[in-house]
Symmetry: D2
Subunit: 318 residues, 4 copies
Amino acid sequence: MTELCYDLAHLAHIELLTPKLEESARFFIDVMGMSETTRQGDSIYLRGWDDYEHHSLKLTQSPKPGLGHYAFRASSPQALQRRVAAIGKSGWGKGWSDGDLGHGPAYCFTDPDGHNMEVYYETEWYVAPPELKPALKNQSSRFPDHGVGLRRLDHINILASDVRATRVFMENVLGCRLTEQIVFDDGSEKASWVTVCNKTYDVAISEDAYGAKGRLHHFTYAVDNREDILRAADICLEHGVFIESGPHKHAVQQTFFLYVYEPGGNRFEIATAGARLLLAPDWKPIVWTQAERQKGQAWGMKTIESFHKRGTPPVEDE
Amino acid sequence: MTELCYDLAHLAHIELLTPKLEESARFFIDVMGMSETTRQGDSIYLRGWDDYEHHSLKLTQSPKPGLGHYAFRASSPQALQRRVAAIGKSGWGKGWSDGDLGHGPAYCFTDPDGHNMEVYYETEWYVAPPELKPALKNQSSRFPDHGVGLRRLDHINILASDVRATRVFMENVLGCRLTEQIVFDDGSEKASWVTVCNKTYDVAISEDAYGAKGRLHHFTYAVDNREDILRAADICLEHGVFIESGPHKHAVQQTFFLYVYEPGGNRFEIATAGARLLLAPDWKPIVWTQAERQKGQAWGMKTIESFHKRGTPPVEDE
Amino acid sequence: MTELCYDLAHLAHIELLTPKLEESARFFIDVMGMSETTRQGDSIYLRGWDDYEHHSLKLTQSPKPGLGHYAFRASSPQALQRRVAAIGKSGWGKGWSDGDLGHGPAYCFTDPDGHNMEVYYETEWYVAPPELKPALKNQSSRFPDHGVGLRRLDHINILASDVRATRVFMENVLGCRLTEQIVFDDGSEKASWVTVCNKTYDVAISEDAYGAKGRLHHFTYAVDNREDILRAADICLEHGVFIESGPHKHAVQQTFFLYVYEPGGNRFEIATAGARLLLAPDWKPIVWTQAERQKGQAWGMKTIESFHKRGTPPVEDE
Amino acid sequence: MTELCYDLAHLAHIELLTPKLEESARFFIDVMGMSETTRQGDSIYLRGWDDYEHHSLKLTQSPKPGLGHYAFRASSPQALQRRVAAIGKSGWGKGWSDGDLGHGPAYCFTDPDGHNMEVYYETEWYVAPPELKPALKNQSSRFPDHGVGLRRLDHINILASDVRATRVFMENVLGCRLTEQIVFDDGSEKASWVTVCNKTYDVAISEDAYGAKGRLHHFTYAVDNREDILRAADICLEHGVFIESGPHKHAVQQTFFLYVYEPGGNRFEIATAGARLLLAPDWKPIVWTQAERQKGQAWGMKTIESFHKRGTPPVEDE
């Protein structure tokens, strides 16, 4: 029996492209309650109150919204070398970068759909300045008294023109585990969820309705309780933030969610998984059928049309 | 740099000794909302609604309350062999058992304090009977409409005459990671928390106030939200269940908790960690000082005296 | 300035007609967590755990679902006499009945749309049998350890062919206060909410999409927290209860809600108002416009079509 | 049968004395999420996000903490006249004041223990400035995105040297209803809770452990859900606010609570009653015995000593 791969420790950060850098920053800081670590060039670096690294979100000014890149932290220097070797062998490698603010050398690559990715090990542990020093020393920074209060980066959901190809890459080259997927009656793989740790997913891959490549569906931060999501909806309502869907509970993965659009046009999710974890080392992927997907979300809400189609950057026929 | 050990997948089950088998079973089934998988001899096998194995709690009739044994599931057959070799080498091994209802061969051993433990890989995935079939197929069985509704086994807290010795064994022999600990001004290690996965602890080891060996402080099941704990307190109140402490929030590990005594006399905890996970591969253990511990729990509640002393089985001078 | 009328103390009970008496009873008892006080003839009498009277819900076997009648308790014997006089004068009175199990003589009448109503003062305070005796003596009976755990009757929503006529009757004859309403651009009154106490509504009156008379839209029990509604959705999901809409938050009245169909076909709501109360004696009714209503619910969910149309008993063109 | 008195609509505002005016204001605004309506002289006027009047809390600079006065709003001009007549007749009247910012003429008086009180009818409805304009027009102002987010004033708890005398005054002169009380074995009335509306209490009267007169135990604002209280505790922890007790649930009145000290030294409570209301017009007061009180709070937490003794202003032997 092949042993599981533990080389990637966790989803580490996302670079989000936004045509409205300052407005996006104000949304994530004022409304969502994130804190700004630093700014450099066209980028602003942000983190949730319990993210332990320098940043988990990098906002970068760009003509169009979308994904800049996303990154995993490796479990060790050795694990990093193993994954770099595997990626190189796969032919999707692009080479090393010197790193970025907050982390060391990163190996850059793309998945078969063209999403920019990287993996690194060396990182800078966040040290809270006095005004963000937490009362309890086992958390990264102060629990915020304003905004939604995002705890930590949870997952990313990319769109892919070929879900299967990207999912197989994530499994075979990166060592991810497939936990759930949607497969239609004609055998087409509509979406797949993969993980590198005990979270039930770090990356979701959904079919791009336009067959476009390299697009972003959404990315997600975790809060602790379902009530935090309800409060987030109240706060978004008052701030005029567009709520696309929720609060509700997904059937797939059972995440309790709220989807909104940040000012740059990207879809953003606030979610909680409760105490749900992937603990079994021999988990058999759950396969949802076409009929099951058409039932809508867990409590019967029909999935809104835009959720099936919209991604960033926008494509011409949208 | 030494790589982390992933050989143990998760805390798998606990055998609890109880002088009142039927009453303990009624407590865990009716009040806590667990389901009974089967009975055999003097034992009743129970599980939370999202535990994927045959059982996570085995109640066994015994003259005194306390811990029978507790078990880890290994990550693979190879991982099992590696841990068995390491335990054997440590001198604490006892040899193989044929396993039990629901799981295959288990290697038995003790920690240096004498707690009975075992590790196994082969297991029987739970298949819900029709009346417990869940509406969503990505959960193990129905979300219960009665009782507290424990989701899954979370952790165990043992008492040890020598915390350090047991903690070092957990680290060096089993491959656990130390995440937090309490160390007094005289250097004595009062409590340590270790994990084998992304939960921030699977096992807590506290100093036995009586210097006794092999005793149990409590064990814990997880629910999804803090509100579930508050509702659990209301249910316990109505059922006349003795509430020792809580609902409140621990400073150490920040768990939101409720401690009660089950009818057999063992302490039992219902808890939620929210979205808190140990994701960093290079986490540096948090060390709490004597002064910090004396501050009480997170929101200032003084820790109740019995919490520092009482364990099962009871010792003479209690 | 005319003083407010306090003659009606509160909405007291609802008689619900159901073609499936036993199934409806099982729904309200097993799934919703109500308790059965007694049975007599074709009726079963139920109550929420903190309803202080003999019953707040009377289920009666009937060929079709719908409303049997609904009742207010008067604030005093004198208040009862005043309201009886006013109703008699309005021409809608039907005369006295001897009362029912649990309450004394009731004066029967209809509103202009034909809904059967009654008002009474004498009542039988519920005394919990030993197995339902609460741990805290300031509540009517035990907090249930099963089902949703409905606390108390909250409100009723009737359908009327002429909303204005019924609303004016509620105000002028019964002494209700109008708190919110929906008035379309053409001046038509689509819905009105009235109260007799500090709740912001006891009765909602919505336009019947079919112009039918005397129909029921839904009735509602209160729970304490929003999380209770989310848990109710999980329980309904497992029990195969049809969820029409929610959990979500209404814009009008801001109630956090879940709408389901009970087995007899009637719509039923579980809701919480949080700490929202009508305290101002000079509250000015909130008037929602056509455009505002079309925005959907508070967080943007479009109101489902069936919610605008379906009532009980069903009408031919449904 | 005597009819209930509805002359007082609700508890309207509290004037709180504080030796640290600015710090107290910062606490209520920044940490508790209240908004400031205006400042005048040595006073700052504040309100919760759904308080409909100009203010519900007036902070006034003073050498010592304590209660300035507290006020009821009458149900109508006629009701005001009736209560003024009754108070005058009781001998506790002090005469009319011209009112204050936000309300019209007020009749001033004391209870037999010397607490300053007033009653008025004319009031100024709060109109939110653009930046506090709510998204939903049926609430007074924006749901705050910072701090605890107090919804509305809930109740006040005064200390009295003679609980019975003050309680009888509240009942006979003001028309309050007694809902619960604690009476010791020797017949002494230790605490009483009275209401003027459907809340189960607007004023609590507790025995002053020092026999002092006119002191304040605490006052309370309501939030919507229990989870809001838990979040409040987290926020207080981060702000270094002293938490005296809670979160926990009272046995008496079953309020879910958190007690803290504001910077001026006064005790302050954040609480929620859930869906609990006093609806019965013939409610029989619940009488708690000495033994019942000694059981502690609902879930067994022993009441902290300071809670039984401390009041403001402090007395010499504290």
